[in-house]
């Protein structure tokens, strides 16, 4: 319960920073101010400035927006495609359709999201869209598998049999009975994939396969400042902390939600 609160608070802080950056940041992130370069944290620049004199705090705020947007859309792709596929596969267990869905899932799992990003970049060149597609594609089998597994066990339950005896078809049962009963699982997994998405986005932009300059992103900030790390550690520390705290917050939230929503644990408590 405490984990949920702490995690939720951390996630909300970064979400708020991301939203705020849409309308206001302390400094313009694209404006270079060589006179104010490499300033340590404090004073006019709370988190200091980089070697171009850009304000780190402002860049972290915009970076939060980029990371959260990429990860969120990628989770959306995973849920939007994976859940319907998983539900449909579960209604026809063992059919050719189910077989194709499951084998394609296995196939995607053989391509870590980094490799997908590499392939896309090799063909189309690097962009934020690449990152979204690469992470999104990898999320599809995650949700398809989870949904199918959970739906299959529900299809054996007597309340689903009762709905079938009441003449309801598979599509309607999937929406009316299966989906509400796996929503908890999806929320928890969604939180986990969200945090993994943030990590993946940071990794991709770190090696230059994600968001392109001048838009700042946490991964890029690290890559740009890596060689200056010994001179100005804050350049490395702040983007790192931003990633860690966001991911930590989402993970704590996911764990907390699971404890809160898991009927087994809840039953044991009541």
């Amino acid at each position: 319960m405490r984990g949920l609160l702490v995690g939720g608070a951390l996630a909300i802080v970064f979400l708020a920073a991301a939203l705020l950056s849409l309308i206001w940041t302390p400094y313009d992130v694209e404006a270079l101010d060589i006179a104010a370069k490499m300033q340590p944290p404090g004073g006019a620049h709370w988190f200091g400035t980089d070697h171009f004199g850009r304000d780190i705090l402002s860049m972290i705020m915009v970076g939060a927006r980029v990371s959260i947007a990429v990860a969120l859309v990628a989770v959306g792709i995973g849920i939007g495609l994976g859940v319907p596929l998983g539900l449909a596969a579960a209604t026809r267990k063992g059919s050719a359709f189910d077989e194709i869905i499951m084998r394609s899932n296995d196939l995607i799992f053989a391509f870590p999201s980094l490799l997908i990003a590499v392939m896309i970049t090799a063909v189309f060149g690097p962009s934020a869209l690449n990152a979204i597609i690469a992470i999104g594609i990898f999320n599809i089998p995650v949700f398809a598998r989870l949904t199918r597994g959970a739906a299959l066990s529900l299809w054996q339950r007597e309340f689903i049999l009762a709905a079938r005896v009441a003449g309801k078809g598979p599509a309607r049962i999937s929406v009316e009975h299966i989906l509400p009963n796996i929503a908890n699982l999806l929320i928890v997994q969604g939180t986990i994939q969200f945090s993994l998405g943030i990590l993946a986005e940071a990794g991709l932009s770190y090696i230059g396969l994600g968001v392109q300059p001048p838009t700042p992103s946490w991964g890029r900030m690290l890559a740009d400042s890596q060689t200056l790390a010994s001179l100005a550690p804050h350049l490395v520390l702040f983007p790192g902390f931003a990633i860690i705290l966001t991911v930590l917050g989402l993970n704590l939230m996911g764990d907390g939600l699971r404890d809160l929503l898991d009927p087994r644990i809840r039953r044991a408590r009541s």
Partner: protein, 529 residues
């Protein structure tokens, strides 16, 4: 001195009292039966003797094994007692064994632990112990894994583990509840023989009076954490001095008052029904084999009639039920309800579905936990073309709930607010709401405590009297089937081997299998006379 003496045992988990002053004794060479419904504390008594208690347990009172207080022992001393002086057998043979170890190693482990045997010695001895529980090594080699054995065979392995070191006391907690009636009879016989041979004491815990009455020398009746009556079996069953014993006894042999008059007009006609499954391929390139779960089954159920379908697990009765309900497609034959027919290969038409409904076994799994009772009960209205809406719908829901003895206001509650018995009433209300002619009761009372079961049987009898409902009553419990059906069918290996008026079949079974079943079923009445 008693072998085991429990004195004034109080036990609470997180300050929730579970046992309230239990006093019990077990003598060497005798069987103590502990009877109780769910929540009576009978299993917790077993855990207390083993001193394997959940976290947060507080306990007062004495548990003395041959005069030595188990309650005062250190954990190390208790580990030495468990398995050596006290053995235990559990309810679920399917999960009680480690799936990754051979049965030989699992039996041998007890011996190596307590008797310091080498692996070779222990395995040799394990083979002897397994032979004692009728798993001769010639047919059941030590290197078998649990998944290669049936439920009854696995329970024998669990018993072998428990008796490997010739313990003074054996505790069996619902050892046969998960088993078929014929297997149950064999396991009970085995336990009885082991007690006689080894002179150990046996505590047999069960919810089923008839099971225990058969082999127990002494009985203890438990209720809500107390022993309400205890004594020699014959005396307890004769005197029934505590009202709860009486109630339990009556509920166990309850005969609901059913006055429906069966007609000669057929309602459900099943003709030459065939249901096959593909088996896993034997080799990668071979053709998959076919398993015939239902083999050419035909029968008729008349208007107003209650027809029983009895068989052990795997006999095909559930598969048959699912095919009749249109949940799985049949591979051959036809099903007619009230003149409307569906043949194999066709989808079941809505009109036909609307003529029958079902009540399942599990009162906890039968409802979507996220819906209110009103939505749950009204789900079958989906089958009607002119389903009532608005206030009419509410009225229909209220009426259905009223029929099963629940209140109209219950419609606004969620299912977790109801007990098992109430849930089964809601399941019946759901079946009733579209006024079907036929209700299929698939083990509908099997998961209920006897007292609740008696009430539900009364309700079913009453509903069939009032509405002229027909029942197809599927059960493994011969006693219940006898109480509520007019006719009965016995199913084995996908076929109906015997069929006839219930009383005739029970009084004068014709088929060998029916005789075996009836002989295996524990009967309470015998002990009273």
């Amino acid at each position: 001195m008693s072998l085991l003496q429990i004195d004034n045992l109080h036990l609470a988990i997180h300050d929730q009292p579970i046992l309230k002053g239990i006093t019990l004794g077990v003598e060497a060479g005798r069987v103590l039966g502990i009877i109780g419904e769910s929540g009576s504390g009978k299993s917790m008594t077993a855990s207390a003797i083993m001193q394997l208690l959940p976290n947060g347990t507080s306990m007062t009172g004495d548990i003395l094994l041959e005069g030595i207080a188990l309650t005062d022992m250190t954990e190390t001393a208790l580990n030495d007692v468990r398995g050596r002086l006290i053995g235990m057998v559990f309810q679920e043979p399917m999960t009680a064994l480690n799936p990754l170890l051979t049965i030989g190693d699992q039996v041998a482990e007890t011996l190596r632990l307590h008797q310091g045997m080498s692996r070779r010695e222990a395995l040799a001895r394990a083979a002897e112990v397994l032979a004692r529980v009728e798993l001769p090594p010639a047919r059941f080699p030590l290197n078998r894994y649990p998944h290669e054995l049936s439920g009854g065979q696995r329970q024998r392995v669990v018993i072998a583990i428990a008796i490997a070191c010739n313990p003074r006391l054996l505790i069996a907690d619902e050892p046969t509840t998960a088993l078929d009636v014929t297997t149950q009879a064999q396991i009970l016989l085995l336990l009885k023989r082991l007690v006689a041979e080894d002179g150990m004491g046996l505590i047999l815990i069960s919810h089923d009076l008839a099971v225990v009455a058969d082999i127990a020398d002494d009985l203890a009746i438990m209720r809500e954490g107390e022993v309400v009556e205890a004594g020699p079996t014959a005396r307890v069953l004769r005197e029934k001095s505590h009202p709860y014993t009486r109630a339990l006894f009556e509920a166990s042999s309850h005969q609901p008052d059913r006055r429906a008059i069966p007609t000669e007009a057929p309602l459900l006609e099943v003709r030459n029904l065939i249901r096959t499954y593909p088996l896993p391929r034997k080799s990668i390139f071979g053709k998959p084999g076919m398993f015939e779960a239902v083999r050419d089954v035909s029968f008729t159920l008349d208007h107003g009639e209650s027809l029983g379908l009895v068989g052990e697990s795997g006999c095909g009765k559930s598969t048959l039920t699912r095919a009749i309900l249109g949940l799985d497609a049949a591979q051959g034959g036809s099903i007619s309800v009230d003149g409307e027919t569906v043949v194999a290969g066709q989808r079941m038409p809505t009109g036909l579905r609307a003529k029958m409904q079902v009540v399942f076994q599990d009162p906890y799994g039968s409802f979507n936990p996220r819906h209110k009772v009103s939505r749950l009960v009204s789900e079958p209205l989906h089958l009607l073309e002119d389903a009532p809406v608005g206030p009419e719908r509410d009225a229909a829901i209220g009426q259905a709930l009223g029929e099963v003895g629940l209140d109209e206001t219950d419609a606004q509650k969620y299912i977790h607010e109801f007990s098992g018995g109430q849930r089964q009433r809601i399941a019946i209300a759901r079946a009733l709401i579209i006024r079907p002619r036929l209700i299929i009761l698939d083990e509908a009372v099997s998961a209920l405590d006897v007292s609740i079961r008696a009430q539900i049987l009364d309700l079913l009898a009453d509903l069939s009297t009032r509405h002229g409902l027909s029942y197809l009553f599927i059960s493994h419990d011969l006693h219940v089937v006898r109480a509520i059906t007019d006719r009965v069918m016995i199913m084995k290996s996908g076929q109906i081997v015997e069929e006839g008026a219930t009383e005739t079949v029970f009084a004068d079974p014709q088929h060998d299998y029916t005789r075996t079943l009836l002989a295996a079923a524990p009967v309470l009445e015998e002990h009273v006379s």
